[in-house]
Each structure stands twice: as structure tokens, then as C-alpha cells.
Symmetry: C2
Subunit: 332 residues, 2 copies
């Protein structure tokens, strides 16, 4: 039996469980020459998937209605008629939300469970780690001694960004939504300071206090009022890496923010939309750095692991409530 999750309706505002439908297929699977049969082991749920559920023009095509959703997946090779793969191996790739599926192997990478836990290949050694490393280095161009602010700092990408910032000699300030997360930023991830946007009365003033020399680099995962508050604190030649805007993704009305233009002009500052896939030529360099730091125990990471294929939609929806710490993963 194969279970599949398809997109039934395009979400309006926050996604709900009823936007998804579970289908069951009892037919047998036989693979042809060149194909492999995969069993899903881990599924990554990520905020950017929300964008693909809309039908607005975007950098990647929208999901089709009544077709399987897909995202980063770790799968086990059950059977192989493809000489590049053997039964029992594990692969990572963009795959459907199915318990089992057939692939021709294209776009799949083998992953080694002896080098790192399998789930790490969806996070610190996957798109999460690459996004953090390449966003910070390619656009942020950090120089030791500068000040970095990270929003969504306790999230999968944010917590890695902050740690890389420290490894590169920056002062790192994280913004997150609970005291527990702030504590984790400082104790587990080595951030210099943290700001709880839910309890801080004046985020702008809190940033000014935590960053007395101003903000040189802002790694933005959230958009909205938190990013507005950062603008007031940027330095001349600041670099703002626009990686995500989770606070705006579910907005039905067109979101409004403080006008950025005057801040950019008076600081000769840069804002750059960042998508990791544009930097594929830098993946090997980035993987090398990340693997080395991980092996040297210099990068900690946190996962929130939810169990059960049936809980994929809920785990995805919970991202928008900030219920995850670090990378949100579903174990099948």
C-alpha cells in the first residue's frame, strides 16, 4: 500500500489540514530498467513550501492541485534496476510526499548514515546548512568584528547562520519568539544576545541596545515589523540578506511595511533576495566547510522530529506557529 498527500485546495491565509488530502493506492509496484523503488524515511517541511501552494508567479512553479506535494526527503532504496544505486542505500532529493515511490535516480544524492545521522542531510548538511552558509557569505560578505542580526534565529536556518557568524568572528544577535528559544540561542548556539519579539516592548530600541555599534548584516527570515525595526539600526554599507518572510507568507491582504528606500539611500545599504539554488556552483565549497565544522563539533543543530506520515500536514502548519525548534522533520 502506498499513501500519498496531495494539495487539495490552495490555502487562503494560514494553511489548514483540509487543504491536503490523503490518497491510498493498493496496487503493486514493479520497476523498470533504470528505475529504483524508494521508501520514504524522513520528510522535510519548510516555510517556503507555502509559496508553492499559491498560484502567484514565483521563482519555482506552484504545486498543482490534486498532485502530490514534494519537498526534501531522505529515502531508502528498496529495489534497484539502476546501476548507480543498490538496495539498502539511502538517498536525499526533492521527492513526493508518498510512503513509497519510483524514481529514475535523477537529482538524487547518496547520503552516508555513518558520517552523520540521516536527518542531518535534510538540515545542517542539506538545504538548511547551504542556505545559511551561502546567504551569509555570498551576500553578507562578513568581516570579523562586524555585527550580525538574525531573525527567525531559533529556526532551522537562523540557528546555523548565527553559529557560522560566530565562527567568522561576528557579534551575533538573534531575534526569536519565546524566552526558551532565546535561552537556547545563547547557551546552545553561542549567540551573543537574543531578543524576544513577543515580550520586548520596543524591538527597535532592544536592537539598538544589543548592537551598540549598529547592524552591519541582517539575515532576514521573517519580514514584517521585526525587519522594520532592524532598518532603524543599520550601518552605512549594511547588507540585508532577504532569505525568508514567514510573517508575510500567510497574509491575504498585500502586506505593508515601513518604506525601505530612505533607509537604503542614507546608508548606501543593500537588500538582496536570496535563493540557495542560484548558488549551486558553490555547493561543494559550502558542504566542505559545513562538514568540517560539524566533524570538529563546532556546529550544533536542533531538530524537531514529528512521527508519522499522517502528521506531515500538521507539522508543516505548525511552522507558522513557531512550534519547531530548529529543523522541522517528519519521521515516517
Amino acid at each position: 500500500m502506498i499513501q500519498t498527500i496531495v494539495l487539495k485546495d490552495r490555502p487562503e491565509g494560514k494553511p489548514t489540514v483540509s487543504d491536503f488530502e490523503f490518497l491510498t493506492d493498493e496496487s503493486d509496484i514493479t520497476i523498470k530498467k533504470g528505475e529504483i523503488l524508494l521508501e520514504t524515511v524522513y520528510v522535510s517541511v519548510d516555510p517556503y513550501l507555502r509559496g508553492r501552494m499559491s498560484d502567484a508567479k514565483s521563482y519555482i512553479p506552484s504545486f498543482e492541485l490534486n498532485k502530490p506535494v514534494h519537498s526534501g526527503v531522505i529515502a531508502k532504496v528498496l529495489e534497484s534496476e539502476n546501476e548507480k544505486f543498490k538496495g539498502g542505500e539511502f538517498v536525499s532529493g526533492m521527492l513526493d510526499w508518498k510512503t513509497k515511490q519510483v524514481s529514475n535516480g535523477e537529482g538524487l544524492l547518496k547520503v552516508d548514515e555513518n558520517k552523520a545521522p540521516l536527518s542531518a542531510y535534510l538540515g545542517i548538511l542539506g538545504m538548511t546548512g547551504l542556505t545559511a552558509y551561502l546567504g551569509l557569505t555570498q551576500i553578507g560578505k562578513p568581516k570579523a568584528g562586524e555585527t550580525l542580526v538574525v531573525s527567525g534565529a531559533a529556526g532551522a536556518v537562523g540557528s546555523v547562520v548565527g553559529q557560522i557568524g560566530k565562527l567568522l568572528g561576528l557579534t551575533v544577535i538573534g531575534i526569536a519568539g519565546t524566552d526558551e528559544k532565546i535561552e537556547m540561542l545563547k547557551t546552545k548556539f553561542g549567540f551573543d544576545a537574543g531578543i524576544n519579539y513577543n515580550t520586548s516592548k520596543d524591538i527597535k530600541a532592544a536592537i539598538a541596545k544589543a548592537a551598540p555599534n549598529g547592524v552591519d548584516i541582517y539575515f532576514d527570515n521573517v519580514g514584517g515589523s521585526i525587519s522594520d525595526a532592524v532598518l532603524f539600526n543599520i550601518n552605512k554599507f549594511a547588507r540585508l540578506i532577504i532569505c525568508g518572510a514567514i510573517s508575510l507568507y500567510n497574509s491575504i491582504e498585500l502586506p505593508q511595511s515601513v518604506s525601505v528606500q530612505p533607509f537604503l539611500i542614507k546608508n548606501s545599504a543593500l537588500m538582496q533576495g536570496f535563493i540557495v539554488s542560484n548558488y549551486a556552483d558553490k555547493f561543494p565549497e559550502a558542504m566542505k566547510e559545513l562538514s568540517t565544522w560539524l566533524a570538529e563539533d563546532k556546529l550544533a543543530y536542533t531538530e524537531t522530529v514529528v512521527n508519522g506520515f499522517e502528521n506531515i500536514p500538521t507539522a508543516f502548519i505548525d511552522l507558522f506557529e513557531g512550534k519547531n525548534k530548529g529543523k522541522m522533520i517528519v519521521k515516517i
Copy 2:
């Protein structure tokens, strides 16, 4: 007798004549060794001066209250005790709003009235031309065949940006506020299309129609709702040169706009605040290009010349009403 204009009050919202004060000094001027005595010939009034009249943190210091305002000026050397200058020569530089003043010559450039009209050194061969050329080339990185949108297109900088865009093989669309200006963009400056933001019911749709292949480069002089409308039309890897925000400079409330972050992410787009003074190392190259084009009659320029030292404040205030076509200059 020397007349001086000082900043009496920091404007709230739109500047008024009463924010300025005229002082008269009857004392004789004698210059010391190394000094020159200058007589002001032309004064440049520019939107960016509004920012210097506030006391907010900016890229250049605020003007001090009860001190002379200064801006780009062309002056005649009346007397010289400085071996680098001779009586009768003309210079350009950042000088006070005074009918006569003493200088040590620092930061002044000699200008040649035989090569171009003196006022051109405040415009097409001055900061205006350098801003247009360097903003477009250094940040816009234009490739022939791309589409450029210019706001404030009939202004001093905008009209030059559009012409350079055409010289570099771009499709050029200008946005301005009267039909007369739109006509001028097309007939005098060679723009491919123009949009009158005052009569267009839907600027976003008008841009989509004028730029069927989308917008690759946006040279932004205005900010606000016009820039919001451009965002909906940008292409992947678009470059947005944030050069001015005249629609926001007089705002007393903190201006709000459409949130830019989702547009930047989905298009991997760049917004960069631009100040020409950061590119001083490129001035010689830019001046060479601009002078060559001007000599070859490939660049037209428009000036609005107001007569009389006493009219400097009014000429400055009129910028915010769009009363100028091209560079606004006061002839003393």
C-alpha cells in the same frame, strides 16, 4: 555687500520660505595667502538637500541651524592669493549659499566655459550626470536588450538615465507626472514609452503594458506608490537602484509601502541604496563617457533656470511640486 541664506528652522513636512533666513554683511573682504575670493554664478538646488535639513542620522551630516546652506555651485574667481587659481577662472564645488565667499580652494574643480555652458557642470557634467551614469552602470549592470524603468524620469537625473539606457541598448520606460513631460521624454530624450502617474488609473498595469517582457532594471528617484507598482513587474535577478525617494522626503509620519521582501525573494532581486560619492574612483571614467556623448550630441539635457539669489529657497521648494524640467538651477 554679501548676502547669505541660512537654515533658520528644520522643515516639518514640505519646506517653506520661512525655514530660511537672508543675512546681509556689509564688511569688506580681504583674502589671505592661499585663499581665493569667489563670486557665485549658478547654484544647484536638489531634492537630497531636504534630507540634510532634518537632524536624522544620514549619510552626510545635517545642516546646522543658523549656518549657511550649501550645495553644488559654479563660481567665478574674483581675486586669488592661491597659485592654483587665477582671477577670471570658473570653479565648481560644494559651496555656501552666499553671493560671495572666501575659499582655500580645497575640493574645487576648474570648469571650462568653452567646452560646455557653465551650468552644465552642475548637471550633465556634474553630480547629475555622474549619478545617472554610475548608478545605472555600477548597480544596474545593464545588458543590451533589457528593460529599464526610470521614475522621476523628467527630472535632472532621470532624463539622463533614460538617455544612457538607450545608448546602452535598453528598452526605456519613463514615469513622470504631466503629459507635457511624457511627451518630452519621448521626443527630446528618446524614451520608448512614458507613463503619466497622475492620469494613469493603474500604474502597475500601465507598466506591465509598456514592459511586456518585465522590468530588469529600475532606477528609482521617487519611492512610494510608484515604486510599489514597479515591484509587481520585476523580473528574476532584477536590479533596483534606489537613488532618491522624493515622494517620501517631506513625510512627517513614517512612510509605509508594500512590503518589498516577498518580491525580492521570489525574484532573487537586488535593491541597493546609491550615493554617487561612494564611487569617486569611477568619476574620471564616467566624465570621459559623458563628455564624449555630449560632444557627439548624443545626450540632450534640460535646465530650469530661475533668476536671482533671493529665489533660491523658492526654487528648492518648487522641486517638490515637480515644477522643474530637468536640472533646477538658480542663476545669480
